[in-house]
Symmetry: none
Subunit: 262 residues, 2 copies
DNA sequence: CCTGGTGTCGAGCAGCGGGGAGCATGGTGT
DNA sequence: ACACCATGCTCCCCGCTGCTCGACACCAGG
Protein backbone atom coordinates (compact mmCIF):
# COMPACT_ATOMS: atom_id res chain seq x y z
CA UNK A 1 0.00 0.00 0.00
CA UNK A 2 1.54 3.24 -1.15
CA UNK A 3 1.42 6.22 1.14
CA UNK A 4 -0.51 8.27 -1.40
CA UNK A 5 -3.15 5.58 -1.74
CA UNK A 6 -3.36 5.30 2.02
CA UNK A 7 -3.79 9.03 2.36
CA UNK A 8 -6.59 8.96 -0.15
CA UNK A 9 -8.23 6.09 1.69
CA UNK A 10 -8.06 8.02 4.95
CA UNK A 11 -9.56 11.13 3.42
CA UNK A 12 -12.30 9.05 1.83
CA UNK A 13 -13.12 7.39 5.10
CA UNK A 14 -13.24 10.68 6.96
CA UNK A 15 -15.52 12.21 4.36
CA UNK A 16 -17.76 9.19 4.49
CA UNK A 17 -17.91 8.80 8.24
CA UNK A 18 -17.32 12.39 9.36
CA UNK A 19 -15.33 11.16 12.33
CA UNK A 20 -12.97 8.24 12.47
CA UNK A 21 -10.64 6.87 15.09
CA UNK A 22 -6.96 6.17 14.61
CA UNK A 23 -7.23 2.61 15.80
CA UNK A 24 -9.97 1.77 13.32
CA UNK A 25 -7.99 3.23 10.45
CA UNK A 26 -4.90 1.33 11.50
CA UNK A 27 -6.74 -1.95 11.56
CA UNK A 28 -8.59 -1.28 8.35
CA UNK A 29 -5.46 -0.28 6.45
CA UNK A 30 -3.23 -2.90 8.01
CA UNK A 31 -0.68 -0.44 9.32
CA UNK A 32 0.39 0.66 12.75
CA UNK A 33 -1.14 3.38 14.86
CA UNK A 34 1.95 5.52 14.46
CA UNK A 35 1.75 5.49 10.71
CA UNK A 36 -1.86 6.55 10.75
CA UNK A 37 -1.05 9.35 13.16
CA UNK A 38 1.73 10.59 10.93
CA UNK A 39 -0.55 10.43 7.93
CA UNK A 40 -3.19 12.38 9.75
CA UNK A 41 -0.60 14.95 10.76
CA UNK A 42 0.38 15.43 7.13
CA UNK A 43 -3.18 15.56 5.93
CA UNK A 44 -4.02 18.12 8.54
CA UNK A 45 -1.20 20.37 7.31
CA UNK A 46 -2.63 19.93 3.82
CA UNK A 47 -6.01 21.01 5.19
CA UNK A 48 -7.72 17.83 4.08
CA UNK A 49 -8.98 16.95 7.55
CA UNK A 50 -8.80 18.03 11.15
CA UNK A 51 -7.09 16.17 13.91
CA UNK A 52 -8.89 15.39 17.12
CA UNK A 53 -8.09 13.35 20.16
CA UNK A 54 -8.31 9.72 19.14
CA UNK A 55 -8.82 10.26 15.45
CA UNK A 56 -9.71 12.76 12.78
CA UNK A 57 -12.76 14.56 11.47
CA UNK A 58 -13.88 16.68 8.58
CA UNK A 59 -12.30 20.12 8.58
CA UNK A 60 -14.60 22.84 9.88
CA UNK A 61 -17.31 20.39 10.63
CA UNK A 62 -18.21 22.19 13.80
CA UNK A 63 -21.20 23.65 12.05
CA UNK A 64 -24.48 22.07 11.11
CA UNK A 65 -24.78 19.22 8.69
CA UNK A 66 -26.96 21.30 6.42
CA UNK A 67 -24.27 23.52 5.04
CA UNK A 68 -26.49 24.87 2.31
CA UNK A 69 -28.91 26.77 4.39
CA UNK A 70 -26.78 28.18 7.14
CA UNK A 71 -24.12 29.30 4.75
CA UNK A 72 -26.52 30.82 2.31
CA UNK A 73 -28.47 32.58 4.98
CA UNK A 74 -25.37 34.42 6.16
CA UNK A 75 -24.24 35.24 2.66
CA UNK A 76 -25.52 38.40 1.03
CA UNK A 77 -27.49 39.28 4.10
CA UNK A 78 -27.52 43.01 3.47
CA UNK A 79 -28.83 42.67 -0.09
CA UNK A 80 -31.30 40.04 0.95
CA UNK A 81 -32.50 42.09 3.85
CA UNK A 82 -32.96 45.15 1.68
CA UNK A 83 -34.96 43.09 -0.79
CA UNK A 84 -37.01 41.67 2.06
CA UNK A 85 -37.79 45.11 3.46
CA UNK A 86 -38.85 46.34 0.05
CA UNK A 87 -41.05 43.30 -0.45
CA UNK A 88 -42.62 43.58 3.01
CA UNK A 89 -43.88 47.03 2.07
CA UNK A 90 -46.19 45.41 -0.48
CA UNK A 91 -48.00 43.45 2.20
CA UNK A 92 -51.10 44.84 3.83
CA UNK A 93 -53.11 43.63 6.77
CA UNK A 94 -55.39 40.68 6.12
CA UNK A 95 -53.82 39.62 2.82
CA UNK A 96 -53.28 35.99 1.87
CA UNK A 97 -49.58 35.85 1.11
CA UNK A 98 -47.65 32.92 -0.36
CA UNK A 99 -44.00 32.34 0.43
CA UNK A 100 -42.02 29.74 -1.45
CA UNK A 101 -39.07 28.01 0.19
CA UNK A 102 -35.68 29.66 -0.01
CA UNK A 103 -33.30 31.93 1.82
CA UNK A 104 -34.60 35.16 0.36
CA UNK A 105 -38.20 34.38 1.19
CA UNK A 106 -36.99 33.37 4.63
CA UNK A 107 -35.46 36.82 5.04
CA UNK A 108 -38.81 38.26 4.04
CA UNK A 109 -40.59 36.10 6.58
CA UNK A 110 -38.36 37.54 9.29
CA UNK A 111 -39.66 40.98 8.31
CA UNK A 112 -43.27 39.87 8.11
CA UNK A 113 -43.48 38.43 11.62
CA UNK A 114 -43.26 41.97 12.94
CA UNK A 115 -45.75 43.33 10.46
CA UNK A 116 -49.54 43.39 10.46
CA UNK A 117 -51.50 40.15 10.83
CA UNK A 118 -51.88 38.29 7.54
CA UNK A 119 -52.50 34.78 6.32
CA UNK A 120 -49.28 33.12 5.23
CA UNK A 121 -49.18 30.07 2.99
CA UNK A 122 -45.80 28.38 2.67
CA UNK A 123 -44.18 25.08 1.87
CA UNK A 124 -41.11 25.85 3.96
CA UNK A 125 -40.95 24.28 7.37
CA UNK A 126 -38.45 26.88 8.48
CA UNK A 127 -40.69 29.76 7.56
CA UNK A 128 -43.64 28.15 9.31
CA UNK A 129 -41.42 27.65 12.35
CA UNK A 130 -40.49 31.29 12.31
CA UNK A 131 -44.08 32.45 12.56
CA UNK A 132 -44.96 29.74 15.02
CA UNK A 133 -42.22 30.72 17.43
CA UNK A 134 -42.95 34.40 17.05
CA UNK A 135 -46.57 33.74 17.93
CA UNK A 136 -45.62 31.53 20.87
CA UNK A 137 -43.27 34.19 22.21
CA UNK A 138 -46.08 36.70 21.99
CA UNK A 139 -43.85 39.07 20.06
CA UNK A 140 -46.73 39.97 17.78
CA UNK A 141 -49.90 41.38 19.23
CA UNK A 142 -52.20 39.81 16.73
CA UNK A 143 -50.54 36.80 15.28
CA UNK A 144 -50.72 35.89 11.65
CA UNK A 145 -52.32 32.70 10.47
CA UNK A 146 -49.85 30.27 8.97
CA UNK A 147 -50.81 27.45 6.67
CA UNK A 148 -48.09 24.96 5.97
CA UNK A 149 -48.50 23.10 2.71
CA UNK A 150 -47.81 19.39 3.14
CA UNK A 151 -45.72 16.98 1.16
CA UNK A 152 -42.35 15.34 1.13
CA UNK A 153 -39.37 17.21 2.42
CA UNK A 154 -36.41 18.17 0.26
CA UNK A 155 -32.93 18.66 1.71
CA UNK A 156 -33.50 22.41 1.57
CA UNK A 157 -36.51 22.07 3.86
CA UNK A 158 -39.18 22.60 1.24
CA UNK A 159 -42.28 20.44 1.14
CA UNK A 160 -43.04 19.21 -2.36
CA UNK A 161 -44.89 16.56 -4.28
CA UNK A 162 -48.49 15.73 -5.17
CA UNK A 163 -49.79 16.50 -1.70
CA UNK A 164 -48.32 19.97 -1.91
CA UNK A 165 -49.61 20.77 -5.39
CA UNK A 166 -53.11 19.48 -4.73
CA UNK A 167 -53.29 21.51 -1.53
CA UNK A 168 -52.30 24.63 -3.46
CA UNK A 169 -55.06 24.01 -5.98
CA UNK A 170 -57.57 24.62 -3.19
CA UNK A 171 -56.11 27.98 -2.27
CA UNK A 172 -56.06 31.47 -3.72
CA UNK A 173 -53.39 33.96 -2.84
CA UNK A 174 -53.50 37.73 -3.10
CA UNK A 175 -49.75 37.86 -3.41
CA UNK A 176 -46.97 35.34 -3.92
CA UNK A 177 -43.34 35.92 -3.12
CA UNK A 178 -41.24 33.49 -5.08
CA UNK A 179 -37.60 32.74 -4.39
CA UNK A 180 -35.68 31.35 -7.35
CA UNK A 181 -32.25 29.85 -7.94
CA UNK A 182 -31.67 31.48 -11.28
CA UNK A 183 -33.15 33.93 -13.75
CA UNK A 184 -32.25 34.15 -17.37
CA UNK A 185 -33.38 36.16 -20.40
CA UNK A 186 -34.57 33.08 -22.28
CA UNK A 187 -34.99 30.33 -19.65
CA UNK A 188 -36.92 32.57 -17.26
CA UNK A 189 -36.98 31.64 -13.58
CA UNK A 190 -35.43 28.28 -12.74
CA UNK A 191 -34.50 25.97 -9.89
CA UNK A 192 -32.25 22.90 -9.73
CA UNK A 193 -34.90 20.78 -8.06
CA UNK A 194 -37.59 19.28 -10.29
CA UNK A 195 -40.07 18.71 -7.50
CA UNK A 196 -39.61 22.17 -6.12
CA UNK A 197 -40.22 23.62 -9.56
CA UNK A 198 -43.48 21.74 -9.82
CA UNK A 199 -44.61 23.03 -6.44
CA UNK A 200 -43.59 26.56 -7.30
CA UNK A 201 -45.57 26.40 -10.52
CA UNK A 202 -48.59 25.44 -8.44
CA UNK A 203 -47.85 28.43 -6.23
CA UNK A 204 -47.80 30.73 -9.25
CA UNK A 205 -51.06 29.26 -10.52
CA UNK A 206 -52.74 29.90 -7.18
CA UNK A 207 -51.62 33.52 -6.92
CA UNK A 208 -53.24 36.58 -8.37
CA UNK A 209 -49.95 38.41 -8.36
CA UNK A 210 -46.44 36.96 -8.33
CA UNK A 211 -43.37 38.81 -7.12
CA UNK A 212 -39.96 37.21 -7.60
CA UNK A 213 -37.26 37.94 -5.03
CA UNK A 214 -33.76 37.47 -6.42
CA UNK A 215 -30.50 39.20 -5.68
CA UNK A 216 -28.25 40.18 -8.58
CA UNK A 217 -26.12 36.99 -8.40
CA UNK A 218 -29.09 35.01 -9.68
CA UNK A 219 -28.97 36.63 -13.11
CA UNK A 220 -27.68 34.28 -15.80
CA UNK A 221 -27.92 31.25 -13.51
CA UNK A 222 -29.83 28.29 -14.90
CA UNK A 223 -31.44 25.53 -12.87
CA UNK A 224 -32.51 22.38 -14.64
CA UNK A 225 -36.20 23.08 -14.30
CA UNK A 226 -38.21 26.16 -15.25
CA UNK A 227 -40.77 27.63 -12.88
CA UNK A 228 -42.09 30.44 -15.04
CA UNK A 229 -41.11 32.58 -17.99
CA UNK A 230 -40.20 36.20 -17.37
CA UNK A 231 -43.53 37.56 -18.53
CA UNK A 232 -45.51 35.25 -16.27
CA UNK A 233 -44.56 37.13 -13.15
CA UNK A 234 -45.75 40.61 -12.25
CA UNK A 235 -42.74 42.05 -10.53
CA UNK A 236 -39.11 41.36 -9.67
CA UNK A 237 -37.34 42.78 -6.66
CA UNK A 238 -33.56 42.68 -6.86
CA UNK A 239 -30.66 44.87 -5.79
CA UNK A 240 -28.60 47.59 -7.51
CA UNK A 241 -25.79 45.15 -8.25
CA UNK A 242 -27.83 43.94 -11.18
CA UNK A 243 -26.22 44.62 -14.56
CA UNK A 244 -27.77 47.20 -16.84
CA UNK A 245 -28.51 44.67 -19.56
CA UNK A 246 -30.35 42.47 -17.04
CA UNK A 247 -32.24 45.51 -15.82
CA UNK A 248 -33.31 46.34 -19.37
CA UNK A 249 -34.50 42.79 -20.11
CA UNK A 250 -36.41 42.46 -16.86
CA UNK A 251 -37.95 45.89 -17.25
CA UNK A 252 -39.18 44.95 -20.67
CA UNK A 253 -40.35 41.38 -20.09
CA UNK A 254 -41.61 41.53 -16.54
CA UNK A 255 -42.91 45.08 -16.63
CA UNK A 256 -42.01 46.03 -13.11
CA UNK A 257 -38.55 45.92 -11.62
CA UNK A 258 -37.60 47.23 -8.22
CA UNK A 259 -34.03 47.57 -6.95
CA UNK A 260 -33.67 47.61 -3.20
CA UNK A 261 -30.77 49.75 -1.97
CA UNK A 262 -28.83 47.98 0.77
CA UNK B 1 -17.22 6.79 20.87
CA UNK B 2 -15.05 9.75 19.97
CA UNK B 3 -15.66 13.10 21.60
CA UNK B 4 -16.34 14.75 18.25
CA UNK B 5 -18.87 12.11 17.29
CA UNK B 6 -20.48 12.45 20.67
CA UNK B 7 -20.70 16.21 20.31
CA UNK B 8 -22.30 15.81 16.92
CA UNK B 9 -24.78 13.33 18.33
CA UNK B 10 -25.68 15.69 21.13
CA UNK B 11 -26.21 18.60 18.78
CA UNK B 12 -28.29 16.43 16.49
CA UNK B 13 -30.44 15.28 19.36
CA UNK B 14 -30.96 18.81 20.60
CA UNK B 15 -31.92 20.03 17.15
CA UNK B 16 -34.27 17.14 16.74
CA UNK B 17 -35.94 17.28 20.12
CA UNK B 18 -35.50 20.93 21.08
CA UNK B 19 -34.85 19.96 24.69
CA UNK B 20 -32.95 17.02 26.08
CA UNK B 21 -31.99 15.95 29.55
CA UNK B 22 -28.46 15.14 30.58
CA UNK B 23 -29.46 11.78 31.95
CA UNK B 24 -31.13 10.71 28.71
CA UNK B 25 -28.10 11.68 26.70
CA UNK B 26 -25.79 9.86 29.08
CA UNK B 27 -27.80 6.68 28.81
CA UNK B 28 -28.22 6.94 25.08
CA UNK B 29 -24.55 7.58 24.43
CA UNK B 30 -23.27 5.17 27.02
CA UNK B 31 -21.18 7.70 28.92
CA UNK B 32 -21.36 9.21 32.36
CA UNK B 33 -23.39 12.23 33.39
CA UNK B 34 -20.22 14.20 33.96
CA UNK B 35 -19.02 13.68 30.44
CA UNK B 36 -22.29 14.83 29.01
CA UNK B 37 -22.25 17.93 31.21
CA UNK B 38 -18.74 18.77 30.10
CA UNK B 39 -19.72 18.25 26.48
CA UNK B 40 -22.72 20.51 26.90
CA UNK B 41 -20.51 23.12 28.51
CA UNK B 42 -18.17 23.05 25.52
CA UNK B 43 -20.97 23.10 23.01
CA UNK B 44 -22.54 26.05 24.76
CA UNK B 45 -19.29 27.99 24.47
CA UNK B 46 -19.31 27.13 20.79
CA UNK B 47 -22.82 28.50 20.57
CA UNK B 48 -24.26 25.26 19.31
CA UNK B 49 -26.79 24.89 22.09
CA UNK B 50 -27.90 26.46 25.33
CA UNK B 51 -27.61 24.96 28.74
CA UNK B 52 -30.57 24.69 31.04
CA UNK B 53 -31.12 23.03 34.36
CA UNK B 54 -31.12 19.30 33.78
CA UNK B 55 -30.22 19.38 30.14
CA UNK B 56 -29.80 21.53 27.06
CA UNK B 57 -31.97 23.22 24.47
CA UNK B 58 -31.76 24.94 21.13
CA UNK B 59 -29.97 28.28 21.31
CA UNK B 60 -32.36 31.19 21.29
CA UNK B 61 -35.38 29.00 21.47
CA UNK B 62 -38.23 30.75 23.17
CA UNK B 63 -39.53 27.59 24.77
CA UNK B 64 -37.28 28.26 27.72
CA UNK B 65 -39.04 27.20 30.83
CA UNK B 66 -42.40 26.12 29.71
CA UNK B 67 -44.49 25.16 32.68
CA UNK B 68 -42.93 21.88 33.54
CA UNK B 69 -40.29 20.89 31.10
CA UNK B 70 -39.00 19.02 34.07
CA UNK B 71 -42.35 17.45 34.70
CA UNK B 72 -43.29 16.59 31.15
CA UNK B 73 -39.97 15.04 30.33
CA UNK B 74 -39.78 12.88 33.40
CA UNK B 75 -43.42 11.99 33.66
CA UNK B 76 -44.32 8.59 32.35
CA UNK B 77 -41.36 8.37 30.05
CA UNK B 78 -40.79 4.75 30.89
CA UNK B 79 -44.42 3.81 30.23
CA UNK B 80 -44.47 5.81 27.02
CA UNK B 81 -41.25 4.26 25.87
CA UNK B 82 -42.48 0.79 26.62
CA UNK B 83 -45.64 1.48 24.67
CA UNK B 84 -43.58 2.86 21.81
CA UNK B 85 -41.33 -0.20 21.71
CA UNK B 86 -44.34 -2.48 21.67
CA UNK B 87 -45.95 -0.45 18.88
CA UNK B 88 -42.76 -0.36 16.81
CA UNK B 89 -42.81 -4.14 16.69
CA UNK B 90 -45.96 -3.98 14.57
CA UNK B 91 -44.18 -2.05 11.84
CA UNK B 92 -42.59 -3.87 8.95
CA UNK B 93 -40.37 -2.67 6.15
CA UNK B 94 -42.10 -0.80 3.37
CA UNK B 95 -45.35 -0.14 5.20
CA UNK B 96 -47.24 3.14 4.95
CA UNK B 97 -47.59 4.20 8.56
CA UNK B 98 -49.61 7.12 9.90
CA UNK B 99 -48.60 8.94 13.06
CA UNK B 100 -50.92 11.48 14.64
CA UNK B 101 -49.50 14.34 16.68
CA UNK B 102 -48.82 13.81 20.36
CA UNK B 103 -46.14 12.90 22.84
CA UNK B 104 -46.77 9.17 22.73
CA UNK B 105 -46.64 8.98 18.95
CA UNK B 106 -43.53 11.11 19.15
CA UNK B 107 -41.94 8.52 21.43
CA UNK B 108 -42.88 5.93 18.82
CA UNK B 109 -41.29 8.00 16.08
CA UNK B 110 -38.05 7.98 18.04
CA UNK B 111 -38.13 4.20 17.89
CA UNK B 112 -39.05 4.10 14.22
CA UNK B 113 -36.17 6.21 12.96
CA UNK B 114 -33.85 3.36 13.82
CA UNK B 115 -36.11 0.74 12.30
CA UNK B 116 -36.54 -0.46 8.73
CA UNK B 117 -37.35 2.01 5.97
CA UNK B 118 -41.05 2.83 5.78
CA UNK B 119 -43.29 5.59 4.51
CA UNK B 120 -44.44 7.82 7.33
CA UNK B 121 -47.42 10.13 7.07
CA UNK B 122 -47.83 12.60 9.89
CA UNK B 123 -49.37 15.95 10.73
CA UNK B 124 -46.78 16.64 13.42
CA UNK B 125 -43.97 18.98 12.50
CA UNK B 126 -41.86 17.60 15.32
CA UNK B 127 -42.18 14.05 14.12
CA UNK B 128 -41.33 15.08 10.56
CA UNK B 129 -38.32 16.92 11.93
CA UNK B 130 -37.22 13.82 13.76
CA UNK B 131 -37.06 11.75 10.60
CA UNK B 132 -35.62 14.57 8.56
CA UNK B 133 -32.68 15.08 10.87
CA UNK B 134 -32.09 11.38 11.26
CA UNK B 135 -31.90 11.04 7.49
CA UNK B 136 -29.63 14.06 7.16
CA UNK B 137 -27.27 12.69 9.76
CA UNK B 138 -27.12 9.46 7.80
CA UNK B 139 -27.81 7.49 10.92
CA UNK B 140 -30.18 5.27 9.03
CA UNK B 141 -28.84 3.31 6.11
CA UNK B 142 -31.98 3.46 4.06
CA UNK B 143 -33.99 6.42 5.12
CA UNK B 144 -37.71 6.39 5.43
CA UNK B 145 -39.93 8.58 3.32
CA UNK B 146 -41.78 11.20 5.32
CA UNK B 147 -44.89 12.96 4.13
CA UNK B 148 -45.96 15.89 6.21
CA UNK B 149 -49.64 16.69 6.00
CA UNK B 150 -50.23 20.41 5.62
CA UNK B 151 -52.56 22.76 7.37
CA UNK B 152 -52.68 25.26 10.17
CA UNK B 153 -50.55 24.75 13.20
CA UNK B 154 -52.00 24.20 16.65
CA UNK B 155 -50.06 25.16 19.80
CA UNK B 156 -49.22 21.50 20.23
CA UNK B 157 -47.46 21.45 16.86
CA UNK B 158 -50.10 19.54 14.95
CA UNK B 159 -51.18 20.58 11.48
CA UNK B 160 -54.94 20.64 11.13
CA UNK B 161 -57.77 22.05 9.07
CA UNK B 162 -59.27 21.52 5.63
CA UNK B 163 -55.88 21.29 3.94
CA UNK B 164 -54.91 18.47 6.26
CA UNK B 165 -58.11 16.50 5.90
CA UNK B 166 -58.25 16.81 2.13
CA UNK B 167 -54.64 15.68 1.87
CA UNK B 168 -55.46 12.63 3.97
CA UNK B 169 -58.34 11.74 1.67
CA UNK B 170 -55.80 11.12 -1.07
CA UNK B 171 -53.79 8.68 1.00
CA UNK B 172 -54.17 5.13 2.22
CA UNK B 173 -52.31 3.83 5.23
CA UNK B 174 -51.49 0.26 6.15
CA UNK B 175 -51.33 1.17 9.79
CA UNK B 176 -52.22 4.22 11.87
CA UNK B 177 -50.89 4.97 15.32
CA UNK B 178 -53.21 7.37 17.05
CA UNK B 179 -52.36 9.32 20.17
CA UNK B 180 -55.36 10.46 22.19
CA UNK B 181 -55.98 12.73 25.17
CA UNK B 182 -58.62 10.59 26.76
CA UNK B 183 -60.42 7.28 26.49
CA UNK B 184 -63.70 6.45 28.09
CA UNK B 185 -66.14 3.54 28.12
CA UNK B 186 -68.96 5.54 26.54
CA UNK B 187 -67.29 8.59 24.92
CA UNK B 188 -64.58 6.52 23.24
CA UNK B 189 -61.36 8.28 22.23
CA UNK B 190 -61.39 12.04 22.67
CA UNK B 191 -59.23 15.15 22.40
CA UNK B 192 -59.74 18.71 23.70
CA UNK B 193 -59.03 20.27 20.31
CA UNK B 194 -61.88 20.29 17.80
CA UNK B 195 -59.67 20.75 14.78
CA UNK B 196 -57.30 18.02 15.85
CA UNK B 197 -60.21 15.66 16.31
CA UNK B 198 -61.37 16.36 12.78
CA UNK B 199 -57.91 15.65 11.40
CA UNK B 200 -57.59 12.51 13.45
CA UNK B 201 -60.92 11.26 12.15
CA UNK B 202 -59.56 11.76 8.64
CA UNK B 203 -56.51 9.75 9.69
CA UNK B 204 -58.70 6.91 10.91
CA UNK B 205 -60.70 6.98 7.68
CA UNK B 206 -57.53 6.70 5.62
CA UNK B 207 -56.13 3.77 7.57
CA UNK B 208 -56.81 0.10 7.10
CA UNK B 209 -55.90 -0.59 10.69
CA UNK B 210 -55.87 1.81 13.64
CA UNK B 211 -53.86 1.31 16.80
CA UNK B 212 -54.40 3.70 19.71
CA UNK B 213 -51.44 4.47 21.96
CA UNK B 214 -52.50 5.63 25.43
CA UNK B 215 -50.93 5.22 28.83
CA UNK B 216 -53.16 4.29 31.76
CA UNK B 217 -53.69 7.90 32.92
CA UNK B 218 -55.80 8.51 29.83
CA UNK B 219 -58.58 6.23 31.02
CA UNK B 220 -61.67 8.11 32.15
CA UNK B 221 -60.40 11.39 30.68
CA UNK B 222 -62.79 13.21 28.36
CA UNK B 223 -61.85 15.76 25.74
CA UNK B 224 -64.58 17.89 24.22
CA UNK B 225 -64.44 16.20 20.86
CA UNK B 226 -64.68 12.54 19.95
CA UNK B 227 -62.28 10.98 17.47
CA UNK B 228 -63.66 7.47 17.37
CA UNK B 229 -65.73 5.07 19.42
CA UNK B 230 -63.99 2.17 21.10
CA UNK B 231 -65.09 -0.38 18.53
CA UNK B 232 -63.84 1.70 15.62
CA UNK B 233 -60.22 1.01 16.40
CA UNK B 234 -58.48 -2.31 15.99
CA UNK B 235 -56.09 -2.32 18.90
CA UNK B 236 -55.05 -0.38 21.99
CA UNK B 237 -51.57 -0.41 23.46
CA UNK B 238 -51.38 0.79 27.05
CA UNK B 239 -49.40 -0.07 30.18
CA UNK B 240 -50.00 -2.37 33.15
CA UNK B 241 -51.11 0.56 35.32
CA UNK B 242 -54.47 0.32 33.61
CA UNK B 243 -57.30 -0.63 35.98
CA UNK B 244 -58.90 -4.05 35.62
CA UNK B 245 -62.31 -2.58 34.80
CA UNK B 246 -60.75 -0.51 32.01
CA UNK B 247 -58.94 -3.61 30.77
CA UNK B 248 -62.18 -5.56 30.68
CA UNK B 249 -64.04 -2.83 28.76
CA UNK B 250 -61.26 -2.30 26.24
CA UNK B 251 -60.81 -6.02 25.76
CA UNK B 252 -64.50 -6.38 25.00
CA UNK B 253 -65.12 -3.31 22.85
CA UNK B 254 -61.81 -2.98 21.00
CA UNK B 255 -61.02 -6.64 20.75
CA UNK B 256 -57.30 -6.38 21.13
CA UNK B 257 -55.53 -4.86 24.09
CA UNK B 258 -51.81 -4.96 24.67
CA UNK B 259 -50.11 -3.88 27.89
CA UNK B 260 -46.49 -2.88 27.54
CA UNK B 261 -44.38 -3.67 30.59
CA UNK B 262 -42.07 -0.78 31.43
C1' DC C 1 -44.01 32.59 52.78
C1' DC C 2 -41.06 29.24 54.55
C1' DT C 3 -39.15 24.50 54.79
C1' DG C 4 -37.77 19.87 53.59
C1' DG C 5 -36.66 16.47 49.96
C1' DT C 6 -35.04 15.20 45.60
C1' DG C 7 -32.25 15.75 41.93
C1' DT C 8 -28.66 18.45 39.49
C1' DC C 9 -24.27 20.93 39.24
C1' DG C 10 -19.34 21.76 39.82
C1' DA C 11 -14.50 20.95 41.64
C1' DG C 12 -11.01 17.83 42.62
C1' DC C 13 -8.70 13.42 42.17
C1' DA C 14 -7.38 8.88 40.19
C1' DG C 15 -7.27 5.54 36.31
C1' DC C 16 -6.80 4.80 31.53
C1' DG C 17 -6.09 5.21 26.89
C1' DG C 18 -4.21 7.91 23.17
C1' DG C 19 -0.27 11.16 21.52
C1' DG C 20 4.53 12.28 20.65
C1' DA C 21 9.82 11.81 20.57
C1' DG C 22 13.43 9.01 19.67
C1' DC C 23 15.44 4.83 18.00
C1' DA C 24 15.69 0.27 15.53
C1' DT C 25 14.41 -2.17 11.31
C1' DG C 26 13.38 -3.22 6.58
C1' DG C 27 12.82 -2.02 1.86
C1' DT C 28 14.29 0.70 -2.14
C1' DG C 29 16.95 3.44 -5.33
C1' DT C 30 21.56 4.79 -6.69
C1' DA D 1 27.39 -1.46 -0.70
C1' DC D 2 25.51 2.76 0.91
C1' DA D 3 22.16 6.22 1.80
C1' DC D 4 17.58 7.34 2.49
C1' DC D 5 12.93 6.98 3.68
C1' DA D 6 8.99 4.87 5.56
C1' DT D 7 7.46 2.04 9.18
C1' DG D 8 6.94 0.10 13.81
C1' DC D 9 8.21 -0.03 18.69
C1' DT D 10 8.81 1.79 23.42
C1' DC D 11 8.57 4.90 27.07
C1' DC D 12 6.72 8.99 29.08
C1' DC D 13 3.33 12.63 29.19
C1' DC D 14 -1.13 14.56 28.69
C1' DG D 15 -5.99 14.77 27.95
C1' DC D 16 -10.31 12.40 28.69
C1' DT D 17 -13.31 10.03 31.62
C1' DG D 18 -15.77 8.63 35.81
C1' DC D 19 -16.27 8.93 40.81
C1' DT D 20 -17.17 11.39 45.10
C1' DC D 21 -18.71 14.99 47.83
C1' DG D 22 -20.50 19.46 49.10
C1' DA D 23 -23.45 23.23 47.30
C1' DC D 24 -27.37 24.69 44.93
C1' DA D 25 -31.85 24.73 42.26
C1' DC D 26 -36.43 23.13 41.71
C1' DC D 27 -40.76 21.18 43.42
C1' DA D 28 -44.16 20.07 46.99
C1' DG D 29 -46.30 20.63 51.32
C1' DG D 30 -47.54 23.24 55.37
Amino acid sequence: MLPAARHQAIVDTVQRERVVRVSDLAQQLGVSLMTVRRDIELLEEAGRLERIHGGAKLPGDASTHEPGFELKSTQLTSEKRAIAVEAAALVQEGMAVGLSAGTTTWALAKELVNGPPITVVTNSVRIADLFHHAAAAGRTHYSSTVILIGGQRTPSDALVGPIATSALKQLHLDLLFLGVHGMDAVAGFTTPNLLEAETNRAFVAAARKTVVLADHTKWGVLGISSIASLDEVDEVISDPGLGSEAQRVLQEKVGKLRLAAA
